[in-house]
């Protein structure tokens, strides 16, 4: 058993004992909860239907209620993906027979829904009763919960349109749930004994096995798979996108040369976006001079960058002929500086 689940158990035991002895131990502090308080609090419905209130509701009534209270978030057919993930859809008639949603393992599902995942109908009942509608939880009467659940089951094509769901037949419906066999307790997060010893989990055995190698061990690490190049560079230089503190560093996806190229490419983007490239070519005259011509004229002048900055910002006419360059007040100062540096360094 892992240390984690042990401490969970210890915590759980503490909780129980505190509940039992609190009144005796701290006289004058607190009081026993009244039976009515416990009843109001104890609303859970369990997979064996313990706690299920008596009542019934049909699909038609459920449709009305759903339209009134639920559809604004979930869509009329429980199909909406805008506020929450969809409630209905994604299962087939075969799934209802097998009790295991095939789309979950085949990857055919475009989107998981409540009914592709849920294994116990009591859970859905409990959740609607406990938490819905979002704005007024616990406001639904048991009959209303039955009706809404009947409507959902009808949307899922588990029950016919004239079906009435009640505490009597909900057990039958459980046997039709598309993913009823989809739940396993054979993993380590369940506390307590393993299923073989009367518990529910696997006794806290972790899902991963990190076995220490004792013989014939590998002498060096071999990388079994790598990202393809196009995927590796899809988001630019990852190392430059980290937060500036902490131990985790992104990998250098581009390498120093490629990184410079990417930075320059973004300057070209900036030049295009700022409208420069409409009149200036990198290596040719279009309306105004090419950047190579600009470099040729200004390269030996020490104050060239400042003068070019002023020219770009205010516009000008005469230096390169009679066609004027318009003022570029819309381009930010720092962007102009970046552009000037980029031009003077050869626009590469």
């Amino acid at each position: 058993m892992s240390r984690f689940s042990k401490s969970l158990l210890v915590l759980a035991l503490c909780g129980v004992s505190a509940g039992a002895f609190a009144v005796d131990k701290y006289s004058g502090v607190g009081r026993q909860a009244t039976p009515a308080e416990v009843k109001a609090w104890d609303i859970d419905v369990r997979p064996d239907f313990k706690g299920l209130p008596k009542g019934s509701g049909n699909v038609e009534r459920g449709n009305e209620l759903f339209e009134e209270k639920c559809a604004s978030c979930h869509g009329s057919f429980g199909e909406s993906n805008e506020v929450f993930t969809p409630l209905a859809g994604g299962t087939t008639k075969d799934d209802i027979k097998t009790g295991r949603v095939k789309g979950l393992s085949s990857g055919e599902l475009p989107q998981r829904t409540t009914f592709t995942k849920v294994a116990t109908i009591s859970t859905v009942f409990d959740y609607i009763q406990r938490a819905m509608p979002w704005t007024a939880p616990k406001s639904l009467k048991p009959d209303e919960v039955y009706a809404i659940l009947a409507y959902l089951l009808n949307l899922q094509e588990i029950v016919p349109a004239d079906f009435t769901l009640s505490d009597k037949n909900i057990g039958e419906v459980q046997k039709l749930l598309p993913n009823r066999n989809g739940m396993t307790t054979d993993h380590g997060m369940w506390p307590g004994a393993s299923a073989a010893k009367g518990g529910i989990g696997n006794g806290g055995k972790p899902d991963v096995k990190n076995v220490a190698c004792m013989k014939n061990c590998k002498t060096e690490v071999q990388i079994g798979s790598t990202l393809p190049e196009y995927a590796r560079t899809a988001h630019g230089e990852l190392a430059d996108q980290n937060r500036e503190f902490g131990a985790v560093r992104g990998t250098r996806t581009l390498g120093p040369e490629a990184a410079k190229k990417a930075a320059d490419a973004s300057t070209l983007d900036l030049a295009t976006k700022s409208g420069c490239m409409a009149c200036h070519g990198i290596k040719s005259k279009i309306v105004g001079p090419g950047y190579n011509e600009v470099v040729a004229r200004y390269k030996d002048q020490t104050d060239a960058e400042d003068r070019l900055f002023a020219k770009i910002k205010a516009g000008g006419q005469g230096a390169w002929g009679s066609i004027p360059m318009p003022p570029n007040a819309h381009v930010k100062d720092e962007d102009i500086k970046t552009l000037v540096k980029w031009i003077m360094s050869g626009s590469k």
């Binding site: 449709n63 339209e67 869509g75 009329s76 057919f77 199909e79 909406s80 859809g89 475009p110 949307l155």
Partner: protein
């Protein structure tokens, strides 16, 4: 034949809102299966909605529409109990018609 559509039509202040959930694969013809073979295109090409016998919506669908498409529209002149008939046709020549009453 395809699977049945789900249709809801509700009248409010003289405007009828119709919501339809169509059940259809809507394959684009661009997708490949696990063996690398192209999954043949299979999508709805047109969908028509009628109020009694009058066409209130005529639409052309295509491969860009999602699987199991959801459609909602409004029109004036419907009354409680009137019949709404929705029918679609797909590129394989399959058709399906379903109806509902305005509630």
């Amino acid at each position: 034949m395809g699977n049945p559509m789900k249709i809801r039509a509700a009248n409010k202040d003289g405007v009828t809102e119709v919501k339809v959930l169509v059940s259809h694969e809507m394959e684009t013809g661009q997708r490949k299966d696990s063996a690398g073979a192209i999954v043949p295109a299979w999508f709805i090409t047109e969908l028509i909605a009628k109020h009694n016998d009058k066409v209130v919506l005529a639409s052309e669908f295509g491969p860009s529409v999602s699987k199991n498409p959801y459609l909602a529209f409004k029109f004036k002149g419907g009354a409680k109990g009137d019949k709404i008939v929705v029918s679609w046709k797909d590129n394989k020549g399959d058709t399906r018609t379903d109806e509902a009453a305005i509630g």
